[in-house]
């Protein structure tokens, strides 16, 4: 077994009920991809527009050079810089000592200037990644400004073309960029968007990115979901480490099987998914399988790229109808936890929106609710981030006051991190599993 899949749910439904909720915990074991998951190719896609001059572009150049130096030897890399057009600074090349030196010189020659058209950088990266379909493909994207030199539609169209071709983690330097624009790129490409308030932080961010990319050992991992005839998938979301709605990204494998791309995984990595299936109505006492999740991936077996699939029985999701309300009304602890984390994210995003609109009363109430939810779920990181934006009077009741001079960076950070969830604490209160 390369992947461990386990479902947490309350399988009991009241008569007439159709919705089945389950949390799937997926863990890649230590040997995943051991026989060959693919070569690592890291692409740096960095903004070189006029606003990057001079501190930021210098910091980026140092950080890219340092990150290239960190790459494991067999890995490949390339560097794309974009303003209103993109240029390939370093074409794809293996991270040998000579190539690293050559790249460092090319990177050093980079000068800031021009506008910002992010889709051009993505397009250039895609063209290179498409030549390495069997690699573990990770992009590192950095910008510092608004996407002013093109229409938003360009990025949306380019993201559609890039989906499945590579993954991309994104960073914005300073506070003059739009969270929505950068987050759109990260979310479209299975990545995370973060803020680097000061250029001195770029180095650490890129180091972290390379460390993370180097752990990946298997690529194109897909969560598959079989559902019975007459059922429909209400939603599929990644619940941890970040909330991502995958429902609309479904690829139909066969009439009853859908799959959702989750990208590359490293040994020991764990993620949680929340699936909701509406089954046909059953009669009291009837038991049925509501979903059979499995995990599919690509791996080198005997020198051949092969599709693999793990379909462990522990991952099965059931439905049983009972007249006993004490059974059917229980909500599984894992499901309740992630439903709460979803509400927390929504409360933060709505609260920040309302504050931006000047509706202080409603913003206070909404952010207060967020503080309460973060407190109840033991999400201390989120409580700390919230405390930079509101003054917490009582976390248990969600009593807060809006802070006056809040730094823009703290607000952007809170918005970006609102989708980061806390895992379920050990031994959840109700584990009415299968």
């Amino acid at each position: 077994m390369a992947f461990k899949l386990e479902a947490f749910q309350n399988k009991y439904l009241a008569p007439g009920q159709r919705r089945v909720d389950a949390i799937l915990t997926v863990t890649a074991d230590a040997a995943v991809g051991a026989s060959g998951g693919g070569q690592l190719v890291v692409g740096f896609v960095v903004d070189k527009s006029g606003s990057m001059s001079v501190d930021r572009i210098e910091a980026v150049k140092r950080a890219v050079t340092a990150a290239v130096a960190m790459l494991p030897d067999p890995a490949w890399f390339f560097v794309v810089a974009f303003d209103s057009t993109a240029q390939v600074v370093v074409a794809e090349t293996q991270a040998t000592p000579e190539n690293r030196q050559h790249a460092a010189r090319a990177i050093e020659a980079l000068r800031a200037g021009g506008g910002t058209a992010m889709s051009t950088g993505l397009a250039a990266a895609r063209a290179i990644f498409e030549r390495a379909p069997n690699a573990i493909r990770q992009a590192i994207f950095l910008t510092d400004g608004k996407n002013e030199s093109e229409s938003a539609g360009n990025v949306t169209a380019q993201l559609q073309a890039c989906e499945g071709r590579f993954e991309c983690d994104c960073w914005g330097v300073g506070t003059d960029w739009r969270v929505g624009e950068v987050q759109q790129i990260a979310q479209g490409l299975l990545g995370k968007a973060s803020i680097i308030p000061d250029p001195s932080g770029i180095d650490d961010a890129f180091r972290g990115a390379i460390e993370k990319a180097s752990t990946k050992s298997v690529r194109d991992v897909r969560l598959r979901l079989w559902t019975p005839q007459g059922a429909s998938v209400a939603f599929v979301k990644q619940a941890n480490p970040t909330l991502e709605d995958l429902t609309l990204r479904a690829r139909v494998v066969s009439p009853q099987v859908r799959e959702y791309m989750t990208g590359a995984w490293g040994a020991g990595e764990t993620r949680d998914f929340h699936v909701a299936v509406d089954v046909r109505q059953g009669s009291v006492g009837e038991e049925m399988l509501a979903a059979r999740p499995s995990l599919a991936w690509v791996e080198m077996v005997d020198g051949v790229w092969s599709q693999r699939e793990d379909k462990p029985p522990e991952a099965r999701v059931f439905a049983t109808w009972t007249p006993d309300a004490s059974l059917s009304s229980r909500i599984d602890g894992h499901v309740a936890h992630y439903t709460g984390q979803g509400e927390l994210a929504t409360a933060i995003q709505r609260g920040l929106d309302l504050r931006g609109q000047g509706n202080d009363a409603a913003a206070t109430q909404m952010l207060g609710r967020a503080v309460k939810l973060a407190h109840e779920s033991g999400n201390a990181e989120m409580t700390q981030r919230l405390a930079k934006v509101v003054e917490v009077v009582d976390p248990a009741t969600g009593t807060v006051r809006l802070k006056r001079d809040v730094s823009k960076a703290a607000t952007m950070d809170l918005e970006l991190e609102s989708r980061t969830t806390k895992r379920v604490k050990k031994s959840p209160p109700t584990g009415a599993g299968a």
Binding site: M1, W76, E130, P133, W226, Q229, M288, R292, S306
Partner: protein
């Protein structure tokens, strides 16, 4: 092997029906493992069946299922099958491989703006009756089993055909720039039987060699 569920569906799974999700009962499991050929084994039916594929356990002391390599000791399934278990007597592995390499020396007019891809060698197993070779085009929904990153190749360039007797043939699909077999042009649209070591070249730099699986 399929199993019949209480509602009468043919199920690929033997725990819950792969059509309607209904619970499969022991009686169905037993019926499924019954066949005239297996009846000759007589008592085999009374032995515990493999929980994955339903095959009766041939030897009570044997650790692995003879069909799907389920591990009775660790209770873990065997290696993932290359294809769905259509029948126990179908060959589990093909004997032919297609080795795809990017050969720069084939490129007579190198164009720096579209360099060859960095992939060095790809190996595809010939396990389907037809393998399409060509350039992937999502807009036209052309997704060849052997996708080429070669601007000189057509989207639907050629097919490798696997006959029931195990022989592999090359079928040029009337490609724009043609296909060569061992360096000689093949007639557009023709089908040529291949043998071990035959080299097919096409596009600007694509070389595909037929190899027997070691």
């Amino acid at each position: 092997m399929s199993v019949t569920c209480p509602a009468g569906h043919a199920s690929d799974e033997n725990d819950y029906c792969s059509v309607c999700g209904a619970v499969m009962h022991g009686s169905q499991l037993l019926a499924a493992t019954y066949s005239p050929a297996r009846a000759a084994h007589g008592l085999a039916l009374l032995r515990p069946a493999c929980p994955v594929c339903g095959e009766p356990r041939a030897d009570i002391d044997g650790r692995f299922c003879e069909v799907c390599r389920y591990d009775f000791a660790d209770r873990t399934p065997g290696p993932a099958p290359a294809a769905s278990p259509q029948g126990a007597n179908a060959p589990s592995r093909s004997t032919w491989l297609l080795v795809l390499t990017v050969d720069r020396s084939l490129d007579t007019e190198p164009d720096p703006s579209s360099p060859p891809p960095l992939e060095s060698e790809l190996v595809f197993a010939v396990e389907q009756p037809e393998l399409l070779v060509g350039r992937r085009d999502d807009k036209q929904n052309i997704r060849p089993a052997i996708p080429l990153h070669d601007p000189g190749a057509s989207r639907r360039h050629a097919k490798f055909l696997l006959a029931a007797d195990g022989t592999v043939s090359l079928h040029d699909l009337g490609s724009t720039n043609g296909t060569k077999l061992n360096g000689l042009d093949v007639v557009a649209g023709s089908i040529r039987e291949l043998k071990e070591g035959d080299e097919v070249t096409l596009g600007r730099w694509t070389r595909i060699v037929l190899r027997a699986r070691p």
